[in-house]
């Protein structure tokens, strides 16, 4: 019997596209739902955050530096805009300071000349305070 592409293979391709689309869109849709729930919980937690006056001095200093230097790309609440979300960073303090100092090629400018060591430490402490 002559094998032709139209037939079993075509039907299999249709089924494959439907299944793959359903799985991928289902994954993206589920992720969107979970993300929305997480964002809601985060905004509620942020609403309960301390005002700058209640923060330790080093964290308050870091918050001011963040507002001036970083919030343009990372958003006022550090949840990310052009730059990534900075909540729950898993990198070490030294690694964060190195990124602040050197930047990320093509993505983030360096602040090595602009910020002193104590400024970077204050920024790290502020980022750690975000949770």
């Amino acid at each position: 019997m002559k094998r032709t592409f139209i037939g079993l293979e075509f039907i299999a391709a249709l089924i494959a596209v439907v299944v793959a689309s359903a799985v991928v869109w289902g994954t993206l849709w589920s992720a969107g739902l979970v993300r929305a729930a997480v964002e809601k919980a985060r905004s509620e937690a942020a609403a309960a955050n301390k005002s700058p006056a209640q923060l330790p001095p080093v964290v308050a200093h870091g918050q001011k530096l963040f507002a001036v230097n970083c919030s343009h790309c990372h958003a006022d609440d550090a949840t990310g805009d052009e730059g990534p979300d900075l909540h729950g960073l898993t990198k070490s303090d030294e690694r964060i300071k190195a990124i602040i100092t050197n930047g990320v090629k093509g993505e983030m400018p360096s602040f090595g000349k602009k910020l002193q060591e104590e400024d970077k430490e204050a920024l790290v402490q502020f980022l750690r305070s975000l949770g």
Partner: protein
Amino acid sequence: MEPFLGANIWEMMHGGSTHLPIALMLVSAGFDGLGCFVRPDRLRDQFHAAGLFTLIAGTLGAFPAVLSGLILARWEIGGTGALFWHHVFLWPAFGLLIALSVWRIIVRGRRSKSGLVIYLMAAFIAAFLVSAAGFWGGEIVLGGS
């Protein structure tokens, strides 16, 4: 908000679970590609069988990789910078892996020559996409270092 169990565990799980599907997809495309050239027919069938089973194993392995990655990225499906490019290649690769597996499972050895050629093109595109997603995943971890 910290990811469930903390980011570190998911960072380790994502790193540990992504490399196997990437490698299996590359090997699967390689087996099927070689299967077109080898003789005799029995050996050719064995190459295609190896391509099928590595493809299915890679597709199954992609699910924990995607889940751990989503948790690690706090359920971000787009993102910015390297994460954005990781996702640009990841989602088509994930879909194509599933589609190829479903197609192979249904058709098995009853495919035509034209069907095999189209499958191979799609398999090599999938291999490129998973490699590119892996490259940008590496940029997220090591970029700027």
